[in-house]
Symmetry: C2
Subunit: 192 residues, 2 copies
DNA sequence: GCCGTTACGTAACGCGCGTTACGCTACCAA
DNA sequence: TTGGTAGCGTAACGCGCGTTACGTAACGGC
């Protein structure tokens, strides 16, 4: 008896790998099977069809991302808390680059897929709410345009993620960190 | 005798339309022919293969984008000049939304296509240089981290473009303008 | 008025895709 | 030992794709 959930997570990991290496165009069941070092028979055995495989892969990835943010724990300084959360949204290592890459591909696919679009909207808004709250905590007295600032913060993060995904050598981790810190200084005033 | 260049531009416009509506996956020669209201025979007649069609479509789109920025003309206030240029990078109307959409799709495709990647890098860097120069003009005395600020400005723009492309109804033109202005105020100090 | 050339439309080819049916092997209960 | 089932591998099917070959109508120089 094999562990079905574990097998499914293995296949989902293969999906991420293929999407990262070949894009959504290159994501064929045969490519997934190759990446998972098995045949398409196994894939077909664990997922009804291609769509079910993709949905599972998306869900697992999203769960891991939120889990990583939740696992950050407590911070004394609200500003450091915000900073730590922001770092999770930007491709600082291989895992987060994989996350950002897959996210970007699914985002573009969402333009022509109502299901993907609905998921994106929910997560985007929730992301903005989270950052708005963190930003509010980081300010002594929150400015009137707090939500707009949070929205811009998200946009900056997505833009940086895109840069890091498209050209990792031009946007190494230290540059991304400096970019985030620079914006934070602009928002909250230079760190003492 | 028909005007070859005009025909090619018509077909390129059909490419943009299909990419915008169906993504790069949906970009088939038959779909392009449908959008151009002709048969695949005509497409095959004017372009050696699909790749030539795509290259031409990218080139024409890029030429139009740079032409639009160059056509902005002279400004008395450097800050207003910068602001006007920034507005061109964000999907404020249907044409610019089309531009941003196609740009984003090709950017994701660049991850697995060396030719597209090389083009992207060149244009990205030139974009950063242009904004660095404009930003320098807008400052009385440029700060030390001028280039990093310009880089963040580009990232913000790309992030906002992505938001406007994915969810136009959540990011209407006036919100995008306010977002850009907000960041500009943060960078240069609130407008008098 | 004829004839080559331009400007396509039409249709077929091979390929890779997702899907599905089928077959085999290992394992576990009886 | 034997029957059944879980866990796959293999192979074939139809479809849509890019490409290409071929047909043909209109046009323009002689």
């Amino acid at each position: 008896m094999v562990d079905h959930d574990e097998r499914r997570e293995q296949l989902s990991a293969a999906v991420w790998q293929v999407v990262s290496e070949q894009g959504l165009d290159g994501l064929t069941l045969r490519a997934v099977a190759d990446a998972a070092d098995c045949t398409t028979g196994r894939v077909a055995h664990y997922f009804r069809d291609k769509n079910a495989l993709l949905t599972h892969a998306r869900d697992v990835m999203h769960r891991r991302m939120t889990a990583r943010i939740d696992a950050l724990g407590a911070f004394d300084d609200p500003r450091e808390h915000l900073r730590a959360v922001l770092r999770e949204g930007v491709p600082l290592d291989e895992e987060r680059r994989l996350n950002s890459t897959v996210w970007a591909h699914f985002l573009m696919a969402a333009r022509t897929d109502p299901v993907l679009l609905a998921e994106h909207v929910v997560r985007h808004e929730s992301w903005i709410r989270r950052l708005t709250a963190l930003l509010r905590d980081a300010y002594g007295v929150p400015p009137d345009d707090l939500e707009l600032r949070a929205r811009n913060l998200v946009a900056l993060l997505e833009g940086l993620a895109l840069c890091g995904v498209a050209t990792p050598e031009l946007y190494p981790p230290d540059l991304l960190v400096r970019a985030v810190d620079n914006h934070l200084d602009l928002l909250l005033g230079a760190k003492k």
